[in-house]
């Protein structure tokens, strides 16, 4: 796709965390309204809609149900279903839609009441059984909670590269520290490496604080044409590059669990943007588990293979580090409402580039890599976003 063929012009979030007074659809409406207001647009300006499936609601044809609830009759609509990569993929799909003229202004919106609508235990049991990322015949009978499938990745990474639980724990510590600066984050109390190591063991080597939260929440992003973007008041955030990577559908059917198809998604995104990892000012990386971030840092080219743990341990992903990661606190601390939550990484990247980061605004950031990871580290979609300075 052509560089800068579409731009993000608005972002919005519902309240995230424990929000028992809002249904999934109300969370979606809250996020959509805020994103349109942020863009200086209204629902009447929207002629494209993208969303993701909802585990809590189990809607048939989710894009149609959401469009109907929001009073939209879009000329382009689709449900994007690549699990945790859906958040980044929606942005790429929206950009393709406006670049081809299918529509001019796309509302990408996703969210659900995962915590209040299902309960924490209910959500965990549901993710392990109904529509699970575990193969129904060859994996589910073994009894893996979703963290067990990522624990297989972590255990192998530790074996091949000497990655330690302390290094993984540092990821959780940084995410919590960042969330402390985010008034909309689910968990803001600081934690230490010792807290992560001593947390109840879920599935070795992953303890409770190595795992993403279970939260309520929705996010929305408005994507439009270059012409419209330039005529709005806010600073456009340009889609400079995008790439996909498909490694495997099932964790037991992968060649390697430690080198992922994020290598391919990242390479295509960098090529599209005509830049390299050293040009990236900060990153929003899908952090469903602490190990995921370490694997992504390596496969997206921010450090050599096997050195992701050391990169984190040396402060590389901290706000003051050479590659600040997830200034909002990520899935580990800002919030995780299931598949829809990948959109929060896009929202944070756009806000930072637009200087809308509030207390957590990073200095001198114009180019970001945003990465979504789905399945058991098998499905990847990377985006490179940039402000005017990056064009």
């Amino acid at each position: 796709m052509m560089r800068a063929a579409a731009a993000i012009v608005g972002t919005g979030e519902s309240r995230i965390g424990v929000v028992p007074d809002r249904t999934s659809m109300e969370l979606i409406a809250d996020a959509a309204a805020q994103a349109l207001e942020n863009a200086g647009l209204t629902f009447k300006d929207v002629d494209g809609l993208l969303t993701t499936p909802s585990r809590v609601e189990g809607w048939p044809m989710p894009c149609v149900v959401v469009a109907d609830a929001l009073g939209l009759k879009p000329s382009y609509f689709a449900t994007v279903d690549v699990a945790g990569a859906s958040g980044t993929s929606m942005i790429h799909q929206a950009a393709m839609a406006v670049a081809t003229g299918a529509c001019s202004t796309v509302l990408c919106v996703a969210g659900q009441s995962l915590l209040s609508g299902m309960s924490r235990g209910g959500a965990i049991a549901s993710m392990a059984t109904r529509g699970s990322a575990a193969h129904a015949e060859l994996e589910q009978p073994l009894g893996p909670p979703i963290p067990a499938l990522y624990a297989l990745v972590a255990q192998r990474h530790m074996h091949e590269y000497g990655t330690t639980h302390e290094q993984m724990a540092q990821v959780a510590v940084e995410m919590r520290r960042n969330a402390g600066l985010n008034p909309n984050a689910h968990m803001r109390e600081p934690i230490t490496v010792e807290d992560v190591i001593n947390a109840p063991m879920i599935t070795s080597p992953l303890g409770r604080l190595d795992c993403s939260l279970v939260s309520d929440g929705a996010g929305a992003v408005i994507v439009t044409t270059p012409e419209r973007a330039r005529n709005l008041n806010g600073q456009p955030v340009w889609l400079l590059g995008a790439g996909y990577g498909l490694g495997h559908a099932w964790v037991g059917d992968s060649g390697s669990l430690t080198t992922t198809a994020a290598v391919a998604s990242g390479a295509d995104a960098y090529r599209g943007a005509s830049i390299s990892p050293s040009d990236i000012d900060f990153a929003c990386l899908y952090d469903c588990f602490t190990i995921t971030v370490i694997a992504e840092l390596e496969d997206l080219g921010f450090c050599p293979k096997g050195e992701g743990g050391a990169f984190v341990e040396s402060g590389g992903i901290a706000r003051s580090g050479i590659l600040p990661v997830n200034p909002h606190g990520g899935l580990l601390s800002a919030g995780h409402s299931g598949v829809p939550a990948g959109i929060f990484h896009v929202i944070e990247a756009a806000r930072q580039i637009r200087q809308e980061g509030g207390d957590r605004q990073l200095e001198r950031v114009s180019t970001a890599l945003v990465h979504g990871n789905g399945g058991i580290i098998g499905v990847h979609c990377s985006l490179i976003l940039g402000g005017a300075d990056a064009l």
């Binding site: 073994l142 893996p144 909670p145 067990a148 255990q155 192998r156 074996h159 599935t203």
Partner: protein, 119 residues
């Protein structure tokens, strides 16, 4: 003891065109896309690719079984399979351990370590 028959791995197939083994059910060979395949038997010995000890089972039914070990095993025939792993009390597995099939459960294979240090 080796319990190796197709009742343990009923989905194991060999591509009749290129000879590749596949454990996950697929209509086409992942290596050559040929549609023809035949049931295949494996010896049941291999190397532990990765594992996790599940302490917090995801459902009420599974809680009584915890802790249990989920394993990925690279069989000597060159195909990766899933199963449970049993270990002597107090011993923890390591990636790379030699393992062998000891039983086919109702719906999954069960492996044990044949690491000499452990036995």
């Amino acid at each position: 003891m080796t319990v190796a028959n197709q009742n343990v791995f009923p989905t194991m197939r060999r591509c009749t065109a290129c000879g590749s083994l596949r454990f996950y059910p697929k209509p086409l060979c992942p290596a050559c896309h040929d549609a023809k395949s035949e049931a295949a038997q494996v010896n049941g010995q291999g190397e532990l690719y990765s594992f996790t000890v599940v302490h917090r089972a995801p459902t009420r039914e599974l809680k009584a079984e915890a802790p249990y070990i989920i394993a990925l095993v690279d069989l000597d025939e060159g195909v990766r399979v899933t199963g449970r792993l049993i270990m002597p009390e107090g011993r923890t597995p390591r990636c790379g351990d030699r393992v062998r099939l000891v039983a086919g459960g109702q719906s999954f294979a069960i492996f044990e370590s044949i690491d000499r240090e452990i036995i």
